[in-house]
């Protein structure tokens, strides 16, 4: 049995207050912090209230970190309000846990959706109207989601690992799940994991366009509820193995144990939850089983509880289905009536609140709940919190657009372990099991590339580096998709759907194995965000398109793919500049090898984009070859599953992952621990010609191996890392090679992925 995972520190910044204690005291009192938006002009918006973090308090706390934040909102790039809030919360968590980031093996996972959107909305709108504009572009250093992790790395690092993760409004919760995977694999001893999202015009306008916001402060579970309220904030938790090196040296006292988790996708609709709550009910049941517990052990639920009629009805149904008769006993509350829906931060903020509820034996309320909806039939905590004798186990629910849902279980430390009766844990399902498949490792069973090369299946990928394709032609996904079912998919989602569909078809993957999607996307949907903002500034918020808004969420291609293909496994997005594809594949290997997912289709997508090509790629360029080769529409995917699973299903194994490495900065000898090839035919496959990668290879055991590059064949894009992995796996499968090494480098970061037969 693996070591318990302990929460040893928390950091919290919410509209209620800056810091854990400031937030907690008002949270328990039932204070509401949702009021008129002052961060920007919200005139003409259907709902113009939101939970805003106090600018003066944020500014004061940020100053303590050497960071200048204008109380009215401004902060110089590459920082953003989101990143500043993240830094304040991370600093509090790190200090509370007493960890030394530089001395211990500490990982960082940042979940989020808005990143530097607030700071970049006007720049984007202007770029939409004036493509040649070159003013203010340095502001866009704060635009990528990765900017937050990079800022924290610069302020607190170096970390052993950094990952940026997005799954809409479950981002913060999935950051914590990934932290668990890293810790249980023993890759790191401590992880600082959480999420942050700042309020911005784009989200306020978009949620208003969807009619999802209550014009008054939201009232979760109330009979009169009319929608949610937006909020902003950040939370980080410090998680560590109870038997980790830090634990031995520092002897931290755990606040709570992260005991269980489950993540999956409804594959139902891009904005609306499935009314039957079936997926959420199964995740709740699986998360409780993962913790080695039963519904009878659960004493509290911190609900997603947005206050929209659909969410709260679905969530109540799911709780009833999963908890059975115990739902009549277990108090349920939502913090959104007090702080609003903090989107990418919500999963982390509410996880932190849930851990505090366990640790402090105090329930927090649902504020604004005056007339409980009798149809929901839950046990509420109205108006104000209250102390209780114990909170043995508590759930934290987080649901995202596209039905990307996650459930976390926090318990009193070692609750399950202390109990003899349950010492033998029920075997959890594969997607929540703790690490049984690791010995058998992760394998590739399918690969596909879609782009300037057309659609290449596994067999055709092998020859990709030896061919040259027309880099100016249009890439048309429509002949590969059903027009009716794909009508909501934007171009990026269509490109991704074609690649994922083909990779799965080539794997002959049966629907019986739960399959998730993990896509890399460097900058999200920049051009459409620019067009959306330009329209709002030009014609007013009522002209915002409700159909376009969900496609602006960075995780929307993964969500659309899961819906289009009916995939119910974890649905995640990762961002890491020009190494976004490598980041996705490496994360998939970590999750599959750790037993956190049975099968993940991992890859990356980048539609050809004016703003990426003209601005972002130049700002974040790593090597001159990135600007010499034309940018193209590109999507690529590989099917990653456990070797045990593939064998059991009789699926053909194309290649095995031998080793994955990742590093930040210009680490000395990042390939020092890389095993040399075994003596067969071996090649290095690079996304693009890259002198840094070649120099690393020259100093490694792979120095004598031929090097192949993908960008001269199919053009430049930030999805090329996934292309390189697909090519490497295909070349091994076709018998051209015994081993291959993919090295992907982007500014300040790198990945190495070694594959073998």
């Amino acid at each position: 049995m693996s070591a318990p995972l302990w929460v040893t520190g928390l950091g919290l910044i919410t509209p209620l207050g800056v810091g854990v204690e400031a937030t907690w005291s008002r949270l328990v009192r039932g204070d509401r912090a949702i009021r008129d938006v002052s961060l920007f002009d919200a005139a003409g918006q259907r709902a113009a209230v939101a939970g805003q973090v106090d600018g003066a308090a944020l500014s004061a706390r940020a100053a303590g970190l050497g960071l200048a934040v204008d109380p009215a909102g401004g902060v110089a790039a590459p920082w953003s309000r989101t990143s500043a809030m993240a830094a304040v919360a991370a600093a509090e968590a790190i200090e509370a846990a007493g960890i030394d980031v530089r001395a211990e093996r500490v990982g960082l996972v940042v979940g989020g959706t808005t990143g530097g959107m607030f700071e970049n909305e006007q720049v984007l709108a202007r770029l939409h109207a004036e493509p040649e504009c070159r003013e203010l572009l340095v502001q866009m250093l704060s635009h990528p989601l990765t900017a937050t992790g990079d800022c924290l790395e610069q302020r607190f690092g170096p970390f052993a690992r950094v990952r940026t993760l997005a799954s809409a409004c479950s981002s913060g919760a999935n950051a914590i799940v990934l932290a668990a995977a890293w810790l249980l694999a023993g890759d790191v001893d401590v992880v600082v994991a959480g999420g942050a999202d700042g309020l911005c015009r784009l989200t306020l306008t978009g949620f208003n366009a969807l009619g999802a916001l209550d014009p008054e402060p939201c009232r979760p579970f109330d009979r009169r509820r009319r929608g949610t309220s937006l909020g902003e904030g950040a939370a980080f938790v410090v998680l560590e193995r109870a038997d980790g090196a830090g634990r031995r040296a520092r002897g931290p006292r755990p606040l709570a144990e992260l005991a269980g988790w489950a993540a999956g996708a409804e594959a139902h609709h891009i904005t609306n939850p499935a009314a039957d709550g079936a997926l959420v009910a199964s995740l709740i049941a699986r998360a409780i089983a993962c913790a080695g517990l039963a519904p009878g052990d659960v004493d509290y639920v911190n609900a997603h509880g947005t206050g929209t009629p659909l969410n709260d009805a679905m969530e109540a149904t799911a709780l009833r289905r999963a908890l059975g008769g115990d739902v009549e006993r277990i108090p349920v509350s939502s913090s959104k009536g007090q702080i609003g829906h903090t989107l990418g931060g919500a999963g982390a903020i509410e996880a932190a609140i849930t851990a505090l509820v366990v640790s402090r034996r105090t329930l927090v309320p649902t504020a604004g709940l005056d007339e409980p909806d009798p149809a929901l039939s839950l046990v509420h905590v109205p108006h104000a919190g209250r102390e209780v004798p114990r909170v043995r186990a508590a759930l934290s629910n987080a649901f995202g657009f596209g039905g990307m849902d996650t459930v976390l279980v926090f318990t009193e430390p070692e609750l399950a372990r202390r109990r003899d009766a349950r010492a033998a844990r029920a075997a959890p399902p594969a997607s929540t099991a703790r690490g049984p498949a690791r010995e058998a490792g992760a394998v590739v069973t399918g690969a596909a590339v879609f782009g300037a090369c057309g659609l290449l299946g596994t067999a055709e990928c092998a020859a990709l580096p030896e061919r040259r394709f027309d880099l100016d032609g249009a890439v048309d996904p429509d002949p590969h998709l059903s027009a009716a079912r794909a009508r909501r998919l934007d171009h990026a989602s269509r490109l991704a759907a074609v690649a994922v569909q083909r990779a799965l078809a080539d794997a002959g993957a049966g629907a019986d194995v739960e399959t998730g999607v993990l896509l890399g996307s460097a900058y999200g949907n920049v051009d459409a965000s620019a067009a959306f903002m330009h329209r709002i500034f030009d014609k007013g918020p009522r002209t915002a398109s409700p159909a376009d808004f969900p496609n602006l969420v960075p995780s929307s291609p993964a969500g659309h793919v899961s819906i289009y293909l009916g995939l119910h496994g974890p649905t995640l997005t990762t961002a890491d500049l020009a190494a976004s594809g490598e980041s996705a594949v490496v994360q998939a290997v970590q999750l599959v090898a750790g037993g956190f997912a049975a099968r993940l289709v991992a890859g990356a997508v980048e539609p050809r984009s004016d703003i990426v090509g003209r601005v972002l790629a130049a700002l974040f360029a790593h090597t001159p070859s990135q600007s010499r080769v034309a940018r193209t529409d590109t999507a690529a995917a590989v099917v990653v599953e456990s070797e045990l699973g593939a064998r059991a299903a009789g699926t053909r194994i194309l290649a095995r992952f031998r080793q994955v490495l990742e590093w930040r900065g210009d680490a000395a000898g990042p390939l020092a621990s890389l095993s040399p090839p075994g003596g067969g035919r071996a090649e290095c496959v690079l996304p693009r010609p890259d002198e840094t990668a070649k120099a690393l290879i020259a100093r490694s055991g792979w120095a004598a191996c031929p090097v192949r590059c993908c960008s001269p064949s199919i053009g430049e894009s930030d999805a090329l890392g996934a292309v390189a992995v697909a090519v490497a796996a295909a070349r091994i499968a076709s018998g051209l090679l015994d081993e291959a090494l993919v090295i992907g480098i982007a500014r300040g970061r790198g990945y190495a992925i070694a594959l073998g037969r």
Binding site: N272, T543, P546
Partner: protein, 87 residues
């Protein structure tokens, strides 16, 4: 604009704005249900249609429960638009 012209324009907007590729606007029946079994549209389509109608035809559509009855068919939407415009 007559009610017939409004209906015709609405059908064109439905196909274009809701991305119903390959559908002939003229083949959409005036009184056929737009949601559920009919054209297979849902609440997100209704919101998109309301935004487009406000922008292109200058009529603000009802929201919430009232929207349900107005958005039941092309005829019902057209009737509402004509009524608002003549008011």
């Amino acid at each position: 604009m007559t009610a017939a012209e409004v209906r015709s324009e609405l059908k064109r907007l439905i196909v274009k704005e809701l991305n119903l590729k390959g559908r002939d606007p003229e083949a959409i029946e005036d009184d056929a249900p737009l949601f559920g079994a009919g054209l297979g549209l849902d609440s997100l389509d209704a919101l998109q249609l309301a935004m487009v109608i406000e922008e292109k035809l200058g009529v603000r559509m009802p929201e919430g429960e009232e929207a349900r009855s107005v958005f039941r068919s092309v005829s019902a939407i057209a009737d509402h638009i004509v009524k608002v415009r003549s008011a």
